[in-house]
Symmetry: C2
Subunit: 152 residues, 2 copies
DNA sequence: GCTGAAATTCCTCAAAG
DNA sequence: CTTTGAGGAATTTCAGC
């Protein structure tokens, strides 16, 4: 159960680290008006409390050879196994996110693949593995994509 | 036009930086068997070539006060302005991603908000701003969510 | 909680092979 | 690409408030 952000200082730290995950303690200290040590202690606490889950490099999907993205909606053929589906899909590296949803489908996946052929292969394997019907929406263009930011 | 990843070493570097965006050059050097200087040059090249777009901290959305996520599908009421829609939506900080898609809708958004009431407000504003009909799918649970990784 | 300072590690750049 | 070295910068740790 993750905490809320305590105060304005933590919120500022989180904002800055979302904008630049490699911001130095010195930079953060200057922005907050605290000492480097104090900032370090706060950031450490945000990390151990799970507010900051980690730091990642954002890689261009095309450079990875994954230029094609798609949403795949899943409808279980056997509703009894509904809750097991995410576990069955965790191995597929092509799946970037897996959301259980309220709506026509039970689950919505966001996937990245190398080609239309790879998408077809993935869809078939997901159907078989999870025993689901699928409905796929191909992404034509990603207009923008960004990290959730603290609401000012 | 972003380059492909050149070789196995660049792929390994990218993988490691996706797993830990704060990995030190020394760590990367040990994993690749290269010198720190060589790794530094490679990472720099990946950055300037746009393969590495940046580094970000991943923040727990709940800690930010944004526990509710949803997909919103947009259908333009006036198809002539189709291509302008993403620009009109860029200011909404609640919108995490905006994809143009092939399917029933023209555009699919992924959004994070504080509450059902905030979701309703957002939907109304999106409709008005972009002159679209909307179809919203509420996320009940995010089973997993991860960065695209280089396919082994 | 915070500060400040010392000790350590890391980054950056250059030179030379 | 490698190694080396030097200078600066960042991180860590710890004493003290």
């Amino acid at each position: 159960m993750p905490r809320q952000l305590d105060d304005a200082t933590d919120t500022l730290l989180a904002s800055m680290l979302v904008a630049d995950g490699r911001a130095t303690l010195k930079t953060l200290a200057e922005a907050t008006g605290l000492s480097v040590s104090a900032v370090q202690a706060r950031v450490r606490r945000l990390e151990t409390d799970g507010v900051i889950r980690g730091y990642v490099a954002q890689i261009d999907p095309e450079a990875l050879g994954l230029p094609l993205a798609a949403f795949i909606s899943l409808t279980p053929l056997d509703p009894r196994q509904d809750y097991e589906i995410p576990d069955l899909l965790a191995d597929f590296s092509e799946i970037e996110s897996c959301h259980s949803v309220a709506g026509d489908a039970s689950i919505v996946l966001f996937v990245r693949v190398a080609s239309p052929a790879a998408l077809e292969t993935l869809i078939r394997e997901v159907r078989k593995r999870a025993n689901v019907a699928t409905r796929t929406t191909v992404v034509l263009q990603t207009c923008f994509e960004r990290q959730a930011r603290p609401p000012s």
